[in-house]
Symmetry: C2
Subunit: 406 residues, 2 copies
C-alpha cells in the first residue's frame, strides 16, 4: 500500500485535553466540535488555502462559491491538477454520490450537490452521480423493493439542484450492475487489488462483518475511473475525475487512489467539505435518522421556525443583560454556522458576526434571519423538485454519451 | 450457522497411520488415495447406498448410469427429496458449473457434464450451467479479455456433451451480472447473510486474501435459487435444485444450504462425484495445468496412446513372471480406475478385473483396452464439438424460458 491509505480510523486522541473524534463513512462523532485541521493531518490530505482559491477564481473566471471562500470545502487532493487540466482545456469529470435514505433529505444533504452543480457550471464538464442503494441494503434493515422507491425519490431531490441534463448521468448501483459489463469489470479489478487486511485498516471492518460490506468499497471506487463508463466517455478510457464529497467519504477514495496505478488508471482528485452540524451542536453532523437534529427538505415554514427556535444550539448568553454585556459566541452558535453555509451575502454575514459577538444582536434575531433563509431555500427546493417528473429522472438515468466542451 | 457448514477444511488427520488429505475447491491432495468415506464423514453428507440407487432406477424407469452404479457419484444431500419430487411430478432443476480454464478440457472435466446430461434425460428437467469466469480472474493471473475467449471455447466443449437446447441455459458470471437484476439481487442477499468468519471457516480464506475472493462464494451460491432466474422460471420463485458436482465443490453448497432458509429459499440438493485421478495416481485429481497428468479432449489418438503407456500408474508387477504369479492390483491401477469411469459394459469390466487380478491379463493389455476406449471418447467428443457453432452456443446462452414437462 502507498502512503495515504494506511491511515487508520478509530478514536484518535488529538490533543492534550483528550479531545477525541471518530470520523468514518458511518460515524461522525467528536467530544468537542469536529477538528478539521486534525482530520487533514490524520487523512493526509491538503488544506485549501487562499492561494488555491485565488487560482480557482482566476482559472474559472468566477467568484468562488460561498462554500469555498468560507472554508466549508476546506481540504483537497490534487485539486491543483484539476485546475491545470481546465487551464489547458483538457477533459475531466465530476463524480459524487449518495446513499439513498428513506424519508426526505435534509438541508445538509444538499451541500455536496449544490457545490457540485456550481462546479459543473464553473468547469462545464460531465458529472456522474452514484446512488449506493446496494450499500444501504447491506448496512440497513430494508428491502430491495423499498430501496428502489427511495432511490428514485432521492434522485428527484438531487436533480432539483439543477444539473445540466446533457452533462449529467445519475445511476443506482443495482441498476448499473445489471446493465454494464464495463462497470462490473472495474468492480472485479478493484476487488482483486484489495485485501481484507486493507479494508479492515481503512474502514475498520471486522471478521463478523458480512462479505457484502467487506467487498462494497470497490463499488464506490469504480465510478472514479472513466473506463467504467464507455457509453459516456467512448474511447476516453482514462479521464481524470474530481470528487466533491464530505470528508467522511475520504477513506473510500484514499483506497481508490492507491489502487488506481495498479490498474493503469489515473488517480481521482478530491475536494472535501465539512459537515453541516446537527441543530444540537457541532459534535456530530446533521443526521437523517434524528428528526430533531435536522431541517428536512419537506419541512413546512412553520416546522422550520419551530425547530430552529427550539433546538438550534445557541452561543448566546443566559440573559439579555449578560448577552448585551458579553456578546454571543459565533464559534459554537449553530444558527451562525448555518448562515455561513446558506447566507450568500458576505457583507451581511460579517455584519451579523460583528453584531452578535458584540451583543448588539440577540439570539432570537439571529435565529429569525436563519429561519427566513432556510424557509426560502426549502420552498425553492420544493418548487424545483415538483417539476422533476419521472420522465426527466429517467432521462438523467439513461446511460448515454455526455456532452463535453473540449 | 446450522450443523453442516461449520465443518472446517484443512489437513485432516484421518487415521492411525497418519493418512492425511486436503480437499477443497482449490486443492485435492492426499497422502494415499483420496479416502471418500472419510470425506462423507468430514463434510456431513450421505453415502449413496444400493437402496437409493434402486429407488433411483425405479423412479426414473432407467438403469442407473455407470457413474452411479459403480459408486463414482457416491455422496448426496437430499437426493431422496428430488426422487420424491420426480415421483410426484413436481418441478425441480439441475445446476452445475465450471471455472473456465485455458487450453483444452481434459476427460476428467467431462464427468459432471456427462452425468448431468444423463440426469437431464432421466428427469426431463431444465439445467443451468454457470461458467465462473469471474472466479478465474480473481484466482489467476489472466485478463478478462482472454477469459471471454476461453469461456466460449469451454462452453462449446460442455455443449458437445449433448444437452437439450430447449431445457438448458449456460451463462458466464460476467455476462449475467451485467444482464440480470434478479441475479444481482440474490448475490447481494446472500452476501448480506455471510460473514468473513464464515468464509474463513468454510473456505480457509485469510486476511490477506482479496475482497473479490472473499465475496465470490455468493456468486456460486446464487444459481441454486430459482428466484435468480425470472426469465427462466417465470413466477416459480422457489423451485428446488439438484447440483451434480465433484465433492470438492461441496463447501460452496454447505454454505448455500445454510443461507437458504434465512432468505426464504428452498435448500439445493446435491449429488457428489469422486475425482478422476491423475495418470500418476489417486493422491490427486487430473489437473488441467499438469500436461502429463491429463488426457485432453484435444489429444490425438497417438498422444493418448503415448501418455497412457508412459504415465498411467500401473498396479502390475515388476516382471511378467511375477505378474503371472501374483496378479495385478486393481485398487491402485490407474488404467483400471479409468475403465471404471469410461467402460460401459459391466460384464467386460468384471472380466478385466478378474483377469488382471489373477495375472492372466498384463498391464500392456489393460492399457491397450483403455487406450481404445479413450481414443473413441475423445474422437466422438471432437466430432460433436466441431458441430457446436457460435450460433448454437449463443442460443444456449440466451436468457429465455426453459421447457418443463410438468
Amino acid at each position: 500500500m502507498a502512503e495515504d491509505a494506511t491511515a487508520k480510523l478509530g478514536d484518535v486522541q488529538i490533543d492534550e485535553d483528550t479531545e477525541t473524534q471518530r470520523i468514518d463513512p458511518w460515524t461522525v462523532s467528536a467530544s468537542k466540535a469536529v477538528n478539521y485541521d486534525k482530520l487533514i493531518a490524520e487523512f493526509g490530505s491538503n488544506k485549501i488555502d487562499s492561494a488555491l482559491i485565488e487560482r480557482f477564481e482566476r482559472v474559472t473566471g468566477r467568484k468562488s462559491h460561498v462554500f469555498l471562500r468560507r472554508g466549508l470545502f476546506f481540504s483537497h487532493r490534487e485539486l491543483d491538477q484539476i485546475l491545470t487540466l481546465h487551464e489547458n482545456k483538457k477533459p475531466f469529470y465530476l463524480y459524487t454520490g449518495r446513499g439513498p435514505s428513506s424519508g426526505a433529505l435534509h438541508i445538509g444533504h444538499l451541500i455536496p450537490f449544490l457545490f457540485t452543480k456550481w462546479l459543473q457550471e464553473a468547469f462545464d464538464v460531465p458529472l456522474i452521480v452514484q446512488m449506493t442503494d446496494d450499500e444501504k441494503f447491506l448496512w440497513r434493515d430494508i428491502s430491495l423493493d423499498e430501496l428502489e422507491k427511495i432511490t428514485i425519490s432521492n434522485i428527484k431531490d438531487i436533480l432539483a439542484c439543477g444539473f445540466d441534463i446533457e452533462k449529467t448521468f445519475i445511476f443506482s448501483d443495482l441498476d448499473i450492475m445489471a446493465q454494464s459489463r464495463a462497470f462490473n469489470r472495474t468492480v472485479l479489478k478493484v476487488r482483486k487489488c484489495i485485501t481484507f487486511n486493507q479494508v479492515k485498516g481503512i474502514f475498520g471492518f471486522g471478521e463478523s462483518d458480512n462479505i457484502g460490506k467487506i467487498s462494497f468499497p470497490a463499488i464506490q471506487a469504480t465510478p472514479s475511473f472513466s473506463a467504467s463508463f464507455p457509453q459516456i466517455f467512448g474511447n476516453a478510457k482514462n479521464v481524470k475525475c474530481l470528487i466533491p464529497c464530505a470528508i467522511d467519504q475520504d477513506p473510500y477514495f484514499r483506497m481508490t487512489r492507491d489502487v488506481a496505478p495498479r490498474l493503469g488508471f489515473v488517480k481521482p482528485a478530491l475536494i472535501h467539505s465539512q459537515f453541516l452540524p446537527a441543530l444540537q451542536g457541532a459534535q456530530t453532523k446533521m443526521s437523517a435518522s434524528d428528526l430533531n437534529s435536522s431541517i428536512y427538505l419537506s419541512d413546512t415554514p412553520n416546522m422550520i421556525k419551530k425547530k430552529i427556535n427550539k433546538y438550534a444550539y445557541s452561543g448566546g448568553r443566559d440573559t439579555i443583560e449578560e448577552h448585551r454585556k458579553y456578546g454571543g459566541d459565533c464559534s459554537v452558535d449553530i444558527s451562525y454556522q448555518f448562515l455561513k453555509f446558506f447566507l450568500e451575502d458576505d457583507d451581511e454575514l460579517a455584519k451579523i458576526e460583528k453584531e452578535y459577538s458584540s451583543g448588539e444582536m440577540l439570539s432570537g434575531e439571529l435565529k429569525k434571519r436563519l429561519i427566513q433563509i432556510l424557509q426560502g431555500i426549502v420552498k425553492t427546493h420544493q418548487e424545483k423538485r415538483s417539476q422533476i417528473t419521472d420522465d426527466i429522472a429517467r432521462e438523467f438515468m439513461r446511460p448515454r454519451k455526455l456532452k463535453y466542451t473540449y
